[in-house]
């Protein structure tokens, strides 16, 4: 399978980098997962990236809150801009990765938590090969 749409490839590249960084930053055990899925349809296919890692309870609450806010935002770019402005004077971690995936890469972002494991899924649709 090849993704010949350079724009889609670049967006997925950005998302993969941000997701991997999140796993490395927040994962609390060596057991982590990164999956790439392609769900083929007749006219459109869904491309999906999924990470899995365990994390401390406060990290799980934080990522759930962040993604809930991100999904509730009517305008993801405006939300991202507000986040950037509010974190600009602060030192340390950026906290921008997931909002960047949504606003800059234009991908849908969601998560689920089971026990101490969080799974973050980002996905987009693309035209199926003819």
């Amino acid at each position: 399978m090849t993704i010949e749409d350079l724009e889609t490839t670049s967006r997925l590249h950005m998302a993969a980098h941000e997701l991997v960084e999140n796993v490395l930053k927040y994962g609390s055990s060596p057991e982590v997962g990164l999956e790439f899925e392609l769900e083929r349809g007749v006219n459109e296919s869904i491309v999906r990236l999924r990470t899995r890692n365990t994390a401390a309870p406060e990290q799980l609450r934080d990522v759930t809150r962040r993604i809930s806010e991100l999904r509730a935002a009517v305008d993801p770019v405006a939300y991202y801009d507000r986040l950037i402005r509010s974190t600009a004077p602060m030192n340390g971690m950026s906290g921008l990765g997931l909002a960047r995936i949504r606003a800059e890469a234009g991908l849908d972002v969601d998560c689920s938590v089971v026990g101490r494991e969080v799974s973050i899924v980002v996905q987009t649709t693309m035209r199926s090969d003819r």
Binding site: E7, S10, D81, M93
Partner: protein, 125 residues
């Protein structure tokens, strides 16, 4: 040949950061900026800011066309620098020279310009 802006050439963590020789206030970024590179970039931008102030530069140009990608940690370093310039009297403008063929450069540099439209100028190479 002289180096008008006195900054170290830094090649670390996949990032190459350094002055363009003989061109006042012009620096070049190349490579890839991952999480580990954020600390390097943050330090470099601090030196660049101090140098721009001491030389009373009116504009600093960053050539980004060879910068393949930066993640959000490195982007945050640029956000912090731009915010500092914007909120401390706007002593100079920041010209970002991009390769518009790179998707991330189109979106991320537009983001930086929205943060401080009176400070950030985007130019295609």
């Amino acid at each position: 040949m002289t180096v008008a802006i006195k900054l170290p050439m830094i090649e670390e963590e996949g990032l190459v950061l350094g002055p363009v020789e003989g061109v006042r206030g012009r620096v070049r970024f190349a490579g890839t900026g991952e999480a580990e590179g954020a600390r390097v970039l943050d330090r470099f931008l601090g030196l660049l800011h101090d140098e721009a102030l001491s030389q009373e530069l009116r504009e600093v140009t960053i050539e980004l066309a060879e910068l393949e990608f930066i993640n959000s940690s490195c982007l945050k370093a640029m956000v912090a620098w731009i915010y500092k310039v914007d909120t401390e009297g706007r002593p100079y403008t920041i010209r970002l020279v991009r390769d518009a063929a790179m998707h991330w450069q189109r979106t991320s540099l537009a983001t930086l310009q929205r943060l401080a439209p009176e400070v950030v100028v985007i130019q295609d190479r």
